[in-house]
């Protein structure tokens, strides 16, 4: 219909210009930095210089040292492992709990509706604040989570264990009631993932509720008439029907988890002993806190870019192939 060719470009132009300047410029610049020795403490020497005689390139200033360093730096390798495990735990917990919540709240009922409204609440809590509030609640002396875990989980489990121990078969060690959650390597990473799960599981549940709502109720009815019980319906009907949505949500959450930064700063500070130093956190430490090595930080962030590009490509193809 409307034929003026230049009109869309006028409309798209300003936004496109800003996006290019704020995303393409840094991507190119960081790649360029990553091939240089570049520390904040002294002015960098770049390979490409524009002088009176035009553009000159000094190849000797380009180096692969930063990338070589990354793969021999045990702390970087550690951050890769931490990020991997954090991603696995937080994605699994978020998606499984999201599914559980969605299936429970799906039906209509007053309490169901109330819960559905509450699902949006964690969205309002910023990641930085989430980290602080979990750190506070997990405190071993006055944390409410610490108290609840000891009273509701550790206490009963230990009671059962002591009963078993009365039998002269085996001696099972009791669970300690004085675990310092954020002082223990495993628990710190686990709790970091839990804080992320608290924020995401309700939102993921909302996504599943939407998807469940669009499934024809007759399918469930038919399964019920055929004599399927609730578990069978869940595993044989609900789960297969939700599969495409589960895949997309998992991919999306994976991408977010790989970029984990905020709560690491406010909840664990990367500790104990680097047990929660994610890639982003380690890059920040190198680039802006400790050695101020911009070249090395750029190289590491490019490795992250490559990983995320692969995930993004998977995600986009998942989304596009749905319809």
């Amino acid at each position: 219909m409307r034929k003026k060719r230049w009109v869309p470009w006028v409309l798209v132009g300003p936004a496109l210009l800003i996006i290019v300047l704020t995303t393409i410029y840094p991507l190119v610049a960081a790649l360029y930095f990553s091939f240089h020795k570049y520390r904040l403490r002294k002015p960098p020497q770049f390979a490409i210089s524009i002088g009176e005689g035009g553009i000159s390139i000094d190849w000797s200033l380009l180096t692969l040292d930063n990338y070589a360093l990354a793969f021999s730096d045990s702390r970087f390798i550690n951050s890769l492992q931490v990020t991997f495990w954090f991603t696995v735990i937080s994605v699994a917990l978020s998606v499984i709990m999201g599914l559980f919540i969605a299936v429970v709240v799906q039906k209509g009922g007053r309490l169901h509706t109330l819960t559905k409204v509450l699902l949006i609440f964690p969205f309002a809590v910023s990641p930085a604040l989430k980290g602080y509030s979990w750190r506070f609640m997990l405190n071993e002396n006055y944390g409410i989570y610490d108290l609840l875990i000891d009273q509701l989980i550790v206490g009963p489990v230990n009671a059962v264990l002591s009963l078993v121990n009365l039998l002269p078969i085996i001696e099972i060690p009791l669970i300690s009631e004085s675990i310092v959650w954020l002082g223990d390597k495993f628990w710190a990473l686990f709790m970091l993932a839990m804080s992320e799960t608290w924020g995401w599981a309700p939102l993921i549940a909302l996504m599943f509720v939407g998807a469940l709502g669009s499934i024809d109720e007759q399918i469930f009815e038919a399964a019920r008439i055929d004599g399927a019980n609730r578990l069978q319906i869940f595993f044989r009907v609900t789960l297969p029907l939700l599969r495409p949505v589960i895949l997309i949500v998992t991919m999306l959450k994976t991408i977010f988890s790989l970029k984990m930064f905020d709560q690491v700063v406010t909840m664990t500070g990367g500790g104990p002993v680097r047990a929660t130093q994610t890639i982003n956190y380690y890059i920040h430490q190198i680039g802006f806190v400790r050695s101020l090595d911009i070249g090395y930080a750029s190289a590491m962030s490019y490795i992250l870019v490559i990983v995320l590009t692969i995930c993004a490509a998977l995600y986009v193809s998942l989304v596009l192939n749905r319809d």
Partner: protein, 305 residues
């Protein structure tokens, strides 16, 4: 015989039904507790007097003194009438509230109009490479923020505007925020434009309106609700943003970074952190309720429907 079996079965299934119902209610209550506990505990701690904040007690006289403290210029507050210290104090957070409001506000004032025009063009026009451009804009969302922050950090150290380097200014942070807010807003608003039937626009075209008349007098008023929702999302995004605020905003502390100033010589002063946390959370809380129905689409760019 069959009648007996049938009634037995009915009884059994009624029992099963009741058990299932109880189990479901228990699960619902558990979910509610899981969601609400951290928020409630933050709110409770914020109104606890300092000496009760470091315990799990629920018996205390509510007080607003923690809010007094975080918005005070003193470094130590003395209880009135005594010489007992009421607490060591972080920095006054009032400037940080202003910083957050200015940065988030300016970010949406710049991003939303530009995004609206672009989204409209992507939705209504065929032009060279529009499909690929759109996918490319979507993928910019997956660029890790740290890779954007590094070059802008080094650039803003040297770019001087009004005798000040851009690093650590509101303007600097606003510019960097564009990298996340603009692509996001384009996709979101495009969804709203797509949902709008274009018959009215066609009619206006037939009546002799030009492209811009159609856009400004017909389409924009119709997509205003969608643009408002996108603005709220963009505001929440930049309000809660932490990595850029830390690296680019620096000493110009937004509220997210100001949370860190509750850390004193004796560790984090939790009652102050909780009070500051409420200040950070409450505006977003109301905004989130406003966009409740759009959150799923907003988070997944409409990928899950």
């Amino acid at each position: 015989m069959t009648a007996i079996t049938a009634s037995r079965q009915a009884q059994k299934s009624r029992f099963e039904l009741n058990a299932a119902k109880t189990l479901e209610t228990a699960a619902l209550l558990l979910i509610i507790a899981f969601i609400l506990l951290p928020i409630m505990w933050l709110a409770i701690t914020a109104i606890k007097p300092q000496e009760k904040a470091y315990s799990t007690t629920l018996i205390f006289t509510p007080t607003l003194e923690n809010f007094d403290i975080i918005f005070s210029d003193d470094s130590v507050i003395i209880n009135e009438g005594t010489d007992r210290e009421r607490g060591e104090v972080g920095r006054n957070m009032f400037p940080s509230v202003i910083n957050s409001v200015v940065v988030s506000g300016a970010t949406i004032l710049i991003a939303i109009p530009l995004a609206t025009l672009a989204a409209y063009a992507f939705s209504r026009y065929q032009f060279l490479g529009n499909g690929i451009l759109l996918i490319w804009i979507l993928t910019t969302q997956f660029i890790p923020a740290i890779v954007v922050a590094i070059p802008f950090f080094t650039l803003f150290r040297t770019v001087v505007i009004l005798d000040r380097p851009l690093l650590g200014t509101q303007l600097g942070l606003i510019i960097v925020n564009m990298s996340i807010v603009l692509p996001y807003a384009i996709w979101m608003i495009k969804g709203f434009v797509d949902a709008l039937p274009d018959e009215i626009e066609e009619a206006a075209f037939v009546d002799g309106c030009n492209d811009f008349q159609i856009l400004f007098y017909i389409s924009l008023p119709l997509i205003r609700p969608g643009v408002l929702v996108a603005s709220v999302f963009a505001f929440i995004m930049s309000w809660n943003e932490f990595l850029f605020a830390l690296i680019i905003g620096r000493e110009m502390r937004t509220m997210q970074v100001a949370l860190m100033t509750t850390s004193g010589a004796r560790g984090i002063m939790w009652e102050q952190m909780a009070a500051a946390g409420l200040v950070v959370m409450i505006p977003i809380f109301f905004l989130a309720m406003f966009i409740r129905k759009n959150v799923v689409d907003g988070l997944t760019m409409g990928a899950v429907k």
